[in-house]
């Protein structure tokens, strides 16, 4: 039966990818309409910046950006371009949007990916420790700490870290991704980036981690009451073995679900932290694009983040499929 499951895999994944494509198209349409429902347009933004706004200039701008055409036609043109992977040109940066996004993407992935892995590992480990003796000292401390970080706004944690480690102790850089005035190469550059990454990564990780701690603990406590745990004890298995072999694997199922959801937000969910630490990633790019009413760039970022979300949804389901033999379909 398990071999059937694996044989059906390529077909199942193909079907899912097809559904994903349809979903992306729907997202493109909805994003486009949402953006155009907001008041103001790039023409008025540019006109505002340049300080002159006579009607003729506005008309020219709108014609240049295709904004004078009826909305359905604009949508159609946009979809056609997206399908050929041409996301257009940012009017603010005067550069192709796809290039800009791919320039910024590694920085964000470095930040959020590291934070995600640290959060997952530390959250699960602390959750397991807390569940060992519910109501004990370790449990109280861990749960208290996680509640504290869960309840504290992200930017506040960031600002406090900047104050303590950056300003008072002066241990770590607090701004940007690398030292700009010192072109470094190789290991020196990597170390420099790592030093810059510490504070933003910690800021993001403590928040994510708090959620994993709570979920893992609750899940472990729940699983510990399942009959098969008693079966394992009756076999003579040690408590350590029961905890790591029998309880943890079963307790991880809901954690995987949550991790999948959070992984989907790796690209879109770090706007606050990137802004606080001036991290040159997608988040700060989106923030700038929003302020400048750079519609096409914003739409490109949305498209990119939604593709990431959908991809991670699929990956999560695949992990689940590999992890839980009872799951039969995607």
């Amino acid at each position: 039966m398990s071999s059937n499951r694996l044989q059906a895999m390529p077909r199942l994944i193909g079907w899912r990818v097809l559904k994903m494509a349809a979903m992306v198209l729907a997202i493109v349409v909805v994003n486009f309409l949402l953006i155009h429902a907001a008041p103001g347009d790039p023409a008025s933004a540019i006109a505002g910046q340049s300080g002159q706004a006579d009607a003729e200039f506005m008309r020219q701008l709108r014609e240049q950006f295709g904004l004078d055409k009826p909305l359905p036609l604009q949508l159609w043109i946009y979809i056609e371009r997206v399908l050929t992977l041409d996301l257009g040109v940012s009017h603010r940066l005067q550069r192709p949007i796809l290039t800009v996004i791919f320039e910024r993407l590694p920085a964000t992935l470095l930040l959020t990916g590291t934070a995600f892995l640290i959060a997952l590992a530390s959250g699960v480990a602390l959750g397991v420790r807390a569940a060992r003796k519910p109501g004990g000292i370790a449990d109280t401390l861990i749960m208290g700490g996680s509640l504290f970080f869960y309840a504290t706004p992200l930017f506040l944690v960031g600002i406090v870290l900047v104050l303590v480690f950056g300003v008072w102790l002066n241990w770590l850089p607090t701004f940007g991704m690398e030292t700009v005035d010192m072109p470094l190469q190789g290991i020196a550059r990597a170390t420099d980036i790592a030093r810059h990454a510490v504070l933003p990564v910690i800021t993001l990780a403590v928040f994510y981690s708090a959620v994993y701690v709570r979920l893992t603990r609750a899940s472990m406590v729940e699983v510990s009451s399942y009959p098969f745990i008693k079966t394992a004890r009756a076999k003579g298995a040690s408590e350590t073995r029961i905890r790591w072999v029998h309880m943890l694997r079963n307790a991880l199922l809901p954690v995987i679900t949550l991790a999948g959801i959070q992984a989907g937000h790796l690209v879109g969910g770090s706007i606050l932290v990137e802004t606080v630490f001036a991290w040159p990633g997608i988040g700060s790019l989106a923030f700038e694009a929003l302020l400048a009413r750079d519609y096409d760039l914003l739409l490109g970022i949305f498209l990119c983040t939604s593709v990431v979300v959908l991809t991670f949804n699929l990956l999560t389901d695949l992990v689940y499929l590999a992890f839980d033999p009872r799951v039969q379909a995607l």
Binding site: A232, R233, A234, F323
Partner: protein, 534 residues
């Protein structure tokens, strides 16, 4: 005389402060010899499982052992360190549990779970050894099974796997805590036989915990009877079953359902419910499965028909089809001549009142956030009765089912299982139902409570002229309360006859197998005696 294997002396186990009594088990003493099967019998809450768990050292922290001794082959189990106990578990004593569906780790292959017993005791384990064990518990295709996950097995197969793990290291003591309660009756018969075989082959001492006297009759050498944490009777199986001394044992034995010996009630001419050619199929993957296959049923006014079958036989689907919760693919259902299938939602409404449902689980079928009065008066109010009047009906019906009318203001959780089932009956009666469909209404209840509910249903039936479709997996229960019995298997009624006729002269092979599987039958069971007298 057998050698002494296990000795329990003056064992007392405490309960948390909020419990209804001070001790879960108080001053219980008994012993078990090698190769002997000792049954611990009692109703829920009698402390019988606590004894099992205390021997294995598996009691939770809220249940401390307060005093006494437990000795296994001379080892004082209560004075072992956790590490020492861990080594004894699995090697000297093995345990089988009640819920085979949940007793195996869902994420681990069967073979790995069995091999784990050897691993944790530091014993090398070959594939053949695991396969041998699977063969020893009569599982087919051991080579395939080792690679399979628990969810692919049936309940009976899973219980065999659990037994294989428990006997892997050939322990001298096997503790079985209600191992067949969750299984179908034919599977139960097989598992009981398996346990007896193992006990004979390996001279294992078996401590067998059960609430079912049929099972006791089937398997026990000696019996102890527990009530509220105390041991009330202790003796050989013959003595306890045939010549019980304690009143409580007598009461329990009297509560075991037995075939109705009264003259059969005359059958009315008027049918209340007629089903013919009912069919319902489901698609499971690419396979079509018939849940109901050409079902025909003729229930007369005032009559009780028992629908007996194992899990998956389609008996609940049939009940749900009658009340329009499941739409059949084809066939006809007539209630007093009206075809229910052609009715619109609105036209159905008066019939909803006349056909009422009684559910299996008295703990889940009552809304915990509503008072008993609200639960019972809901139905009448939905059919246009004023709230005050519905309240009065609720009080009246509560009295009718033997509860105090003041229960209207109380909450479901304040009642015991039997009392809740009475509330369920009152709810059905509040609609002045003519046809009661009872889906396993006594399966979740202790035997003494079960007897009370059956008595109540019988009394109400006679008093109110109720017709009943009574669904049960227990042939003994059906034999007690039903005029006729229909046996279902894989969506078909394979045999239908007056109850006594069906029991004494079963025609279909499956009916014969079901009756033969009823525990306790071989040693002059209740059904057996019915067969002799008729």
């Amino acid at each position: 005389m057998t050698c002494k294997l296990l000795a329990v002396e003056q064992l007392s186990i405490g309960l948390p402060a909020y419990a209804d009594r001070a001790q879960a088990v108080s001053k219980v003493s008994f012993s078990l010899g090698e190769g002997e099967i000792l049954c611990v019998v009692g109703e829920s809450g009698s402390g019988k499982s606590m004894i099992a768990n205390s021997i294995m050292g598996l009691l939770s922290k809220e249940l401390p052992v307060l005093g006494g001794r437990i000795e296994l082959q001379g080892i004082d189990l209560l004075n072992q360190t956790p590490a020492q106990l861990r080594i004894l578990r699995g090697s000297r004593m093995g345990m089988v549990f009640q819920e085979p569906m949940a007793a195996l780790n869902p994420l681990m292959r069967i073979g790995d779970q069995i091999a784990e017993v050897f691993q944790v005791h530091g014993i090398a384990c070959s594939q053949e050894r695991v396969a041998d064990l699977l063969r020893a518990v009569n599982l087919p295709d051991p080579e395939v099974l080792v690679r399979v996950y628990p969810h692919m097995l049936s309940g009976g197969q899973r219980q065999r796997v659990v037994i294989a793990m428990a006997i892997a290291l050939e322990p001298s003591l096997l503790i079985a805590d209600e191992p067949t309660t969750a299984l179908d009756v034919t599977t139960q018969a097989q598992i009981l036989k398996l346990i007896r075989d193992i006990q004979r082959r390996r001279n294992t001492g078996v401590l067998f915990i059960t609430h079912d006297f049929g099972v006791v009759r089937e398997i026990a050498d000696r019996v102890i009877v527990m009530k509220d944490g105390e041991l009330v009777e202790h003796g050989s199986a013959d003595d306890v079953l045939e010549r019980p001394l304690h009143d409580y044992t007598k009461k329990l034995l009297a509560a075991v359902p037995r075939p109705n010996m009264d003259a059969p009630r005359p059958r009315a001419d008027r049918a209340i419910l007629q089903a013919s050619g009912l069919r319902k199929t489901y698609w499971r993957g690419s396979k079509e499965v018939a849940a109901l296959n050409d079902i025909s049923l003729d229930l007369r006014k005032g009559e009780t028909i028992g629908l007996v079958g194992e899990s998956g036989s389609g008996k609940s689907t049939l009940a749900r089809t009658i009340v329009n919760l499941v739409t059949p693919d084809s066939g006809e259902i007539r209630f007093e001549g009206t075809d229910l299938r052609s009715l619109s939602r609105k036209q159905w409404k008066p019939f909803r009142k006349r056909i009422q449902f009684l559910f299996q689980d008295p703990f889940e079928s009552l809304d915990p956030r509503r008072t008993v009065g609200d639960i019972i008066s809901d139905g009448p109010i939905a059919h246009g009765t004023s709230a005050a009047e519905a309240r009065a009906i609720a009080r009246e019906k509560l009295q009718l089912v033997g509860l105090d009318p003041s229960a209207v203001v109380r909450w479901p959780h304040e009642f015991s299982g039997g009392q809740r089932q009475r509330i369920g009956i009152a709810r059905a009666l509040a609609m002045n139902a003519e046809l009661l469909i009872a889906d396993e209404p006594v399966s979740a209840l202790d035997v003494s409570v079960q007897a009370q509910i059956l008595d109540l249903l019988e009394g109400l039936r006679d008093k109110l002229g109720l017709s009943m479709l009574f669904i049960t997996h227990d042939m003994r229960v059906a034999a007690q309360i039903c005029d006729r019995i229909a046996v279902m298997k894989l969506g078909e009624i394979v045999e239908e006859a007056p109850a006594r006729e069906l029991l004494s002269n079963p025609q279909h092979p499956y009916t014969r197998m079901l009756i033969a599987s009823v525990p306790g039958l071989a040693a002059g069971s209740v059904v057996g005696s019915a067969m002799e007298t008729s």
